[in-house]
Amino acid sequence: MFAISTLLDISVLTLLVIVALAMVRERDLFATVMLSGIYGLLSASFFVLMDAADVAFTEAAVGAGIFPLLMLTVLTSVGRYEAGERRVRILPLMLMLALAGALFAAVVQMPAFGAVDAPSHAHVAQRYIYDSPDEIGIPNMVTSVLASYRGFDTLGEVVVIFTAAVGVVVILLGGRPKTPQQSSQALMAEHKVLRIVGKMLIPLILLFGLYVQFHGEYGPGGGFQAGVIFAVGIILYAMLFGLSNAQRVVPLGVLRWLVALGVLIYGSVGLASLLAGGEYLNYSVLANDSVTGQHIGIIVIELGVGITVASAMVLIFFAFTRATRSRDELEE
């Protein structure tokens, strides 16, 4: 069993390097984005091989789903081919070779890959692994570290996502929309089969998102993953039935409120625990029994994370689509 996991590890990593080199050479940005989709899938498979189920979950939805999607949207506006000659630049190449040499020299000084006694496993990780099932009372250690032990850090991450979404909206929806440059065309009207199958899949995706949201304490999952999956469901609807229809379902104004609401929910849990006499984001004081308190706290803040992530992703997608599409298409 050990041998096969090493073999898979090495082959997946080799494929990753090959794909990355292919991306350097490729002049067609469209093909590069296709390759980056493959790159996302590969790195997610690698995370599965490294036992990082939750990370693989997120990378699957982000690296293989949303990242190529945003890139493609941008490509419809900036054009498909790179301009100019492709030449090897000597100075960056030399710099990179020097950097690679230095990093190689540093890397072989590290504890061997997979070493049980590596310093990074020695300190706080032991507590997370052996005490968290009793202290927090949930089996998924990644969720307990994310939501409880490092709750303050996660609050910061959620605020970053919120800020990025606000930034995208300000940058893209602030000015006037572009002048029309193409005829209006019924979106995906040619693909009746796709529309029908998509219509069948959307509820399943949303349901699966909810499952991931609330099952995150027991299996891989949680607010970040669920938010992205939920967003993907709504984005699928927007792609199949047009942006204006999707905006009728989730209007931009509502999304703007939701992005803020998630952060607010997260922050209020911290305030609630302050009021109950504990430290900020110390959920143990939320109920009589500390494990129950942790449960309540984690469910509520994961909900906040899910709401912010989902609405931020949808908001970003809507903003990009509006900025790259012409006016009459929006009003089809």
Binding site: E190, H191, V193, L194, V197, M200, L201
Partner: protein, 107 residues
């Protein structure tokens, strides 16, 4: 009884692996898009079904079985749909199969 299930499961897995490999070979070696599409589309659904079926036999009753069933369902619905949409899109985009003389814009 247990042996029969094991043998069946192995059979499904091996057959699936073979189909996957032949499909991959077809995608790599066939001369034009539509033949490659054929190689991928035909083998993909069958191979995925066989492998998931093999895993289902392997796993026995429980939640994993249900999840595998869902995967099977998704793969069986989405695979052919994606192939159909892709082929249609290629035809619509002006690509013609090899040996099709009705429209020679690519030759």
């Amino acid at each position: 009884m247990a042996e029969i299930v094991t043998v069946l499961s192995s059979l499904c897995l091996i057959l699936g692996a073979f189909l996957i490999f032949s499909g991959g070979l077809g995608v790599l070696r066939f001369p034009d898009f539509f033949t490659r599409m054929h190689a991928a589309g035909v083998t993909e659904t069958m191979a995925a079904t066989l492998i998931v079926l093999g895993l289902m036999l392997h796993s026995g009753w429980g939640l994993p079985l249900f999840k595998l069933l869902l995967i099977l369902l998704f793969v069986m619905i989405t695979g052919p749909t994606a192939s159909h949409a892709l082929a249609k899109s290629a035809l619509h985009g002006g690509l013609r199969p090899l040996g099709d003389n009705t429209n020679n814009e690519r030759h």
